[in-house]
Amino acid sequence: MTSRTLALLAPGDRAVVRGILAEKEFAMRLMELGLTPGTEVALIRRAPFGDPLELAVRGSHFSIRRSEAERIHVDAL
């Protein structure tokens, strides 16, 4: 198992959230969307111009900017 940030996943990769390295407010927001530690997340695709990224979490899909994804640490599956 290798640890890295979500921004480094390739489309199609799956990973498990380890933690969010950010101020509390920001981390809370992401966790409210379901990105709690231990949750499985998949990178679906990058937007046509490279940013943002599309994630699948808990059965729904999100777009998240790369700068935001860099704060989310994951263990690749």
Partner: protein, 655 residues
């Protein structure tokens, strides 16, 4: 008034189908208003229950959590825990979740139930869930949550009657049971075996504090789903295939550009037959008034004041209706989120979200629909920035003025062999508007609209078939709001402009140009001459600028009056020949040179002249602060830019 009706609040995440449920329950008995002091909208309607009793239904803003961080969320939280005006308080809460997206949406639902308000849970989009092979054990969910759970499809109407009956039952309980505000009103009278969370340790009934903790909240949701939801494997939401095309690296942007082209084309061109129809309708009314009323101040007030103002207001309706058709279509199908996904990188370069793209594009036709379209932008600062820069996009009302001045003063010749100088000038004006808007956005985002960097997380919902019913409702609500809120301001300003141009009344037989000269508008034009002289303008242009407050293209007919044209034929054709010969009253030199024309066009590109824009900005920001700020900064930069063009040009010897 009789006893106030009970209030039922609909609460749910964005994309839970909350608004279609609201539309289904209230039909046409609904209206949109604002919460005091904030830009958040309040939708209230009335619903008749099977018992014959009516309840008020409030559609609260969509939210992902009850932790109050944005104004939207604060309102939802206040209504639920009673920290609001007594008349806003919800007697009963309908928590709506999208049954195809249960895991994420139940998280909010648990928080709602944890507030202890009497509640029912609606599993909306149940038909879509069944189609995707999601089977929900409703009685099991009721047992775990301790509130009535109803499977509903707001789109088809399935289950809505049972929801009405459930509202009836709950309302009756509240009525006798005094279930208000003590935090467990729903215990009384509910026969469904209410499970008390702290008793059995299941943890499905959380305290609000626990429910607001994501780890605990989602753990609880997972337990409920494990017990009450089964999935038939192999069936999927209709997303993967469509997304592969619509957000494809190459095809995605191409499809988006084509679609946006169609939207733009339709508000720019397809609306014009309807606008012409409205214009001729008002012309006929004015004609009828001319024919039946005796000449005099009353007729003048009615024709040139009231009807002119009402005509301006009505002329926006076709553009608004068409734009909101497309916006509702994009929102309902889920394509809006994909468009924002594609454009986010591009708009992000100036600090705006992808959703700012459509309002800004629409503003090339007209800033009114553009500003109204900004409500798809969630973040307040981003939305205000977009509203502030939308009027800098070159709208269609500037075009006749540009066409006149370019035709009269820019030589029809080619530069570099292939580029027509006139076309190049027009293109430069468009680019100038765009670049100014981007610069203003960058400055605003670093100064007055600086704020904590918002999280640009955006849900990409499942694709759905649009509901014509709710699209029609959106168009109706938007147009009504515009007529009521912005329309009244526009008519009022028209009356002021009419008064300025008509008083004091000149002696009968005075030529119109003389009458205008002596009117308040003429005096005002002369009063502002010292301010606009450094830009190369004389007082007659000042009168034109004042009249362009009604609408920019009104400048042309005013100029025709100022320069004593006989009014026959096309004013812009004869003006084109007249303007180059007009002399300045004071100096006797030619009033217009190509440099003055360029200075005037630069002024038009940047100035906030349009009263309708100010009125709609007031309506959309729910205050006079932002529209006044817009008026000030746009006119300040317009003055500065024209000053630099005119004085710089003279220094270079072009004047």
């Amino acid at each position: 008034m009789s006893m106030p009706s009970e209030r039922v609040a609909i609460v749910g995440s964005p994309n839970s189908g909350k608004s279609s449920l609201f539309n289904r329950l209230t039909g046409l008995r609904q209206k949109v208003a604002n919460y005091p002091g904030v830009t958040v909208e309040k939708k209230v309607g009335s619903c008749r229950l099977p018992s014959g009793k009516h309840v008020d239904i409030v559609d609260l803003p969509g939210t992902y959590s009850l932790a109050p961080r944005s104004p939207d969320e604060a309102i939802v939280r206040d209504v639920l825990d009673g920290h609001c005006a007594p008349e806003e308080r919800a007697d009963l809460v309908v928590a709506v979740v999208d049954a195809t997206n249960l895991e994420r949406q139940l998280y909010l639902a648990l928080q709602i139930l944890a507030t202890g308000r009497p509640a029912v849970l609606v599993l909306n989009l149940i038909d879509a869930a069944q189609a995707q092979g999601i089977a929900i054990d409703v009685p099991a969910m009721e047992r775990m949550l301790g509130v009535p759970v109803l499977a509903v499809s707001a789109k088809t109407g399935y289950g809505v009657d049972r929801l009405r009956a459930a509202l009836d039952a709950r309302a009756a309980v509240n009525g006798n049971g005094n279930g208000n505000g003590n935090g467990n009103g729903h215990v009384e009278g509910h026969a469904n075996g209410y499970v008390n969370g702290h008793g059995n340790g299941n943890g499905h009934r959380l305290t609000l504090e626990q429910a607001l903790d994501p780890a605990l909240g989602y753990a609880s949701v997972e337990a409920i789903i494990k017990a009450a939801v089964r999935r038939v494997p192999g069936r999927q939401a209709p997303r993967a295939g469509l997304d592969r095309i619509l957000t494809h690296k190459v095809l995605g942007p191409i499809i988006l550009v084509l679609f946006m082209g169609a939207v733009f084309q339709s508000i720019y061109a397809w609306a014009s037959p309807f606008m012409d129809l409205i214009a001729s309708g008002f012309a006929a009314l004015a004609g009828a008034a001319q024919a039946t009323l005796p000449a005099g101040p009353i007729r003048s007030l009615l024709v040139d004041g009231v009807l002119a103002g009402a005509g301006t207001v009505a002329s926006f309706i076709p553009q608004l209706a068409i734009l909101f058709f497309f916006i509702a279509l994009m929102e309902d199908t889920g394509y809006m989120a994909r468009a924002a996904f594609i454009m986010d990188r591009v708009m992000g370069a100036v600090g705006l979200p992808g959703r700012a793209f459509l309002p800004l594009l629409s503003s090339f036709a007209c800033a009114i629909p553009g500003i109204m379209a900004t409500r798809t932008i969630e973040n307040r600062n981003d939305r205000l920035t977009t509203i502030m820069i939308a009027p800098l996009m070159t709208c269609s009302a500037r075009l006749p003025v540009y066409a006149l001045l370019i035709g009269a003063f820019i030589p029809d010749r080619f530069v570099l062999g292939i580029l027509n100088l006139r076309g190049l000038t027009l293109l430069s004006l468009y680019l100038f508007g765009i670049l100014s808007a981007l610069a203003v956005a960058a400055v605003l985002k670093r100064t007055v609209l600086r704020g904590p960097k918002p999280l640009y997380v955006m849900e990409l919902p499942h694709y759905r078939m649009p509901s014509l019913r709710s699209i029609a409702m959106t168009i109706r609500n938007r147009c009504l709001l515009f007529l009521q809120k912005a329309g009244t301001v526009i008519v009022a300003v028209s009356l002021v402009l009419w008064f300025l141009a008509s008083y004091p009344v000149s002696k009968p037989g005075t030529p119109p140009s003389e009458a205008l000269r002596h009117s308040f508008a003429g005096q005002l034009g002369r009063a502002i001459e010292p301010v606009i002289r450094p830009l190369g303008f004389d007082w007659k242009m000042g009168v034109g600028l004042i009249s362009s407050v009604a609408a920019r293209e009104v400048m042309i007919s005013t100029m025709a009056t100022v320069y004593s044209l006989d009014g026959s034929g096309d004013p812009s054709m004869s003006l084109k020949q007249t303007l180059p010969k007009v002399r300045n009253d004071r100096t006797g030199a030619l009033a217009y040179t190509p440099l003055v024309a360029v200075s005037l066009m630069v002024f038009f590109a940047l100035a906030c002249q349009c009263m309708s824009t100010v009125a709609v900005a007031r309506r959309e920001t729910n205050s006079w602060r932002w529209p006044l700020f817009m008026l000030l900064f746009m006119n300040a930069i317009a003055w500065a830019a024209s000053f630099m063009v005119f004085q710089g040009g003279r220094l270079l010897g072009w004047g």
